[in-house]
Symmetry: C2
């Protein structure tokens, strides 16, 4: 497991999606807090709780899908001193000519601990259709929780 320290929730989120795109299990698990209470919901999947089960779920996913490209849009952020909540849409890219799937709606929650920001919850579920092509006014200005 990597000893990377993420200085901000966004650093952790960027590492999460880089690991997802590379199907890199160690890099993925370096983003997660090492807690029994972490929870992960993959699209149309069950609720998974605990570090071992979350790791096993990503191992299964990465065994079957390499080289994914995902674009994150429609970000809404709430950031506090210790916890940050990011709501985003994941848009998976498909080969030219194929119809893109509906985006995945995601709630990511990050906790600040002794070793920086780590993910404690990832809840992903398919959107019912294409995302509205609108601007993202808060992409650079997360709401501060206090």
């Amino acid at each position: 497991m990597s000893g990377r320290i993420f200085a901000t929730p966004q650093d952790a989120e960027s590492a999460f999606y880089e690991a997802l795109e590379r199907a890199d299990l160690d890099a993925m698990m370096a983003v997660w807090a090492e807690e029994d209470e972490i929870v992960c919901v993959h699209p149309t999947g069950p609720r998974i709780a605990g570090l071992a089960a979350v790791r096993a779920s990503w191992e299964r996913i990465f065994a079957g899908a390499r080289g994914a490209r995902v674009q994150i849009t429609h970000r809404v952020e709430m950031a506090g001193m210790m916890v940050a909540v990011h709501s985003v849409l994941e848009n998976f890219q498909v080969p030219r000519g194929e119809r893109p799937p509906a985006p995945i709606i995601v709630t990511n929650v990050y906790l600040r601990g002794a070793s920086g920001w780590r993910m404690i919850a990832h809840h992903a579920s398919p959107a019912p259709g294409p995302a509205e092509p609108r601007a993202e006014p808060r992409a650079e200005a997360p709401k501060i929780l206090h």
Copy 2:
């Protein structure tokens, strides 16, 4: 809108599900933080952001469904000074003889503000099948974030 103050995240969650069962829009919106950054995902629905849009979504839901009964199970909680994350399964009750639907997987996030604990995120998506009938060891002992 009610002036209720919720002293704990659990108080806010209990009020959320009471409002859901009673289809009481004012009671429901009294649980939510009055912020543009609140996000709500109903099962199989789009990501909804902002107080007005969240209110409108519950108004539509409550117009069509009254008298629901929901049992909350498989709770995993992480609680900090300012933010709490609850992962639960919602089990909607159906009339005798009907086959119960798969539970709804839910991530609820609460923020402590000047007027107590309020909901800032509710992400709900259908589970792929029945929940495992197992014990809930952490129901009374949430993980403390610090």
